[in-house]
């Protein structure tokens, strides 16, 4: 195994996710939400996954985290093939691959206080979570410790997203899959969250698969990016190449569709 291969944190090979849907006449037909997709993410790399709604980004993200359906193909995430793991081994493997969701509030149990949620993860992954106290975890993401006693409904969207990121990062994962983590947040909070991802990449050697339809954010944050359309990857490459010399018509259309694109995209890196 070469050094380059060793540093691969996420390797997706020919992944296909098929759902059976009913047509208007009631007949069932297969729908490929993800169709023969291959991609990789290396340590300390932030890789963007862009595309319109319904292009299969979230389906791929869930599969990468070992919690989504896989119809064909293989996934090696954080060194684990989730399809071959069960029970304790599978639960332990989850600690290496964490996910941050689009809507922070809906990804938190609204009846569970922030501190109780962190303690619950400590009880499940005691070895992985002893590095920082809850108060230190809050400080790391720019929150104060009084948040620990609050319910998710008593904090703002930005604070909830930081809590969600804390819950993922306290397990010291090798890979973080962030599914539209900044949509719905105002520009200032968005910038703070992106800065948080950057700092985790630097400090923790974290690899991030950053799913977004916000091309300006992808341009600013990611080293490489994959463009998805109707379940397939239509183009990939370094972010600079992708944005400055897009090859596929769909990528060109996505870039064209960004309001005020020239100013945003040019100035964002």
């Amino acid at each position: 195994m070469t050094d380059a291969e060793q540093s691969i944190v996420l390797q997706v090979n020919h992944l296909t996710v098929t759902h059976v849907v009913r047509q208007n006449g009631g007949r069932r037909r297969p729908l490929h939400a993800v169709d023969d997709v291959s991609l990789d993410v290396r340590a300390r790399e932030i890789v963007g996954l862009v595309g319109e709604s319904g292009s299969g980004k979230t389906t791929l993200s869930l599969a990468a985290c070992g919690i989504g359906k896989v119809s064909a193909g293989t996934i090696l995430a954080g060194g684990h093939d989730f399809s071959s793991l069960k029970g304790v081994a599978r639960r332990r493997a989850h600690a290496d691959v964490q996910m941050v969701f689009q809507d922070p509030l809906s990804s938190l149990d609204l009846r569970q206080r922030v501190g109780d949620g962190l303690d619950e993860l400590r009880s499940i992954h005691p070895e992985r979570t002893k590095r920082f106290t809850n108060e230190e975890l809050m400080t790391r993401v720019g929150l104060t410790s009084d948040i620990l006693g609050r319910l998710p409904t008593q904090i703002s969207g930005g604070q909830a997203q930081r809590v969600s990121i804390t819950r993922g990062m306290m397990l010291q994962p090798k890979l973080l899959v962030a599914d539209e983590p900044t949509s719905g947040l105002d520009a200032t909070v968005q910038a703070q969250i992106l800065e948080l991802f950057e700092s985790f990449r630097r400090q923790e050697n974290l690899a991030i698969l950053f799913v977004s339809h916000n091309l300006a954010v992808v341009r600013r944050l990611c080293d490489r990016a994959y463009v998805m359309k109707e379940g397939r990857v239509v183009e990939s490459g370094s972010t600079r190449d992708l944005f400055e010399r897009p090859q596929h018509d769909y990528t060109k259309r996505l870039i064209e569709a960004v309001p005020g694109k020239s100013a945003k995209l040019a100035g964002s890196r």
């Binding site: 332990r92 600690a95 809906s106 990804s107 149990d109 409904t153 819950r167």
Partner: protein, 308 residues
């Protein structure tokens, strides 16, 4: 302090409900006609009817009777039976233990079986286990209780002689009526738990919990069931209230001397004060149980506590 205010508000709301229930019980009983004619028979003379009305106080203006009824009820006096002459409250207390045994045990059995079945069905939504559980719960809700009771008596008492069918005896006497009475709570609780859990399991925090490596059991019970528990707890409370205020069919089939059979006697005899007492008793049972359910909401959902 916040919690004390929450409790106080619930208790006050309960008292208002009781007042309204007592008022309804009084006026509906009055609308149902004059019981003195039935007590004396059709051959009674107008003078005899007037004398009995005077004895019972039915000749006074209706609002005087109403305020007397409410005042007495507030002091714990639910009147006297027209037939036995016994204090209604004493009669109720002599019967309530028998009904409470049946109601609490039947609903406890309903919860013990219904909740796990509902959780199991929701965790296997659309699969064979879910379908079997759904069919069984529909059957459980559809089977007539009197028929099931009679079949159980026929099989287990008369045929095998394993269990007694009557009231007097030890704990074994409870088995058949409790099992009969529990079929509907089991089915209802299972169906509601399944439905509430199915919704809860679709929420993103469940996916997030799985992604964090939580065990399936923890995801299902600590998060899914806890979030689905409010409607289930409400149903359990309602079921206890309903059965406590009279499981008429089962008490009749098993000759069980509870509130249900007492209600049957009171209505048959047109014993209006006893009927009124039974209605007030039923309202008290519901108010106490609903208050407990409301307090339990606060325990199960901290948002309710914080909001209050």
């Amino acid at each position: 302090m916040k919690f004390a205010r929450f409790v106080l508000r619930k208790v006050l709301a309960g008292l208002v409900t009781l007042f309204l229930a007592a008022t309804l019980a009084f006026f509906i009983a009055k609308l149902s006609g004059d019981p003195t004619i039935q007590m004396l028979g059709l051959s009674a003379t107008p003078e005899q009817v007037a004398e009995l009305k005077s004895q019972l106080g039915f000749d006074r203006p209706i609002f005087v009777q109403y305020f007397d009824f409410i005042g007495d009820a507030a002091r714990g006096d639910l009147g006297t039976s027209l037939f036995s002459g016994d204090k209604n409250l004493d009669t109720l207390f002599s019967r309530v233990w028998a009904s409470m045994q049946l109601a609490v045990l039947a609903v406890a059995l309903g919860a013990l079986i219904g909740i796990p079945v509902g959780v199991f069905a929701a965790s296997r939504e659309g699969r064979l286990g879910d379908r079997v559980a759904s069919v069984l719960s529909i059957v459980g809700q559809s089977v007539p209780v009197f028929w099931l009771g009679l079949i159980l008596v026929l099989v287990f008492s008369l045929n095998f002689g394993w269990l007694p069918a009557g009231f007097k005896g030890d704990w074994r006497n409870l088995v058949l009526p409790v099992v009969t009475l529990a079929t509907i709570p089991i089915a209802r609780i299972a169906r509601l738990t399944r439905s509430a859990m199915t919704n809860a399991l679709e929420d993103q925090y469940i996916t997030a919990s799985r992604a964090r490596g939580l065990t399936s059991r923890r995801v299902l019970f600590a998060h899914g069931l806890r979030n689905a528990s409010l409607p289930v707890v409400t149903l359990i409370g309602l079921q206890i209230g309903t059965l406590l205020s009279g499981a008429i069919t089962v008490e009749t089939v098993f000759a069980w001397p509870g509130i249900g059979s007492l209600a049957t006697q009171a209505v048959t005899n047109r014993d209006i004060p006893l009927v009124q007492a039974l209605v007030v008793f039923g309202a008290v049972a519901f108010v106490i149980i609903n208050t407990c359910v409301d307090l339990l909401y606060g325990v199960l959902d901290p948002r309710v506590r914080e909001a209050s």
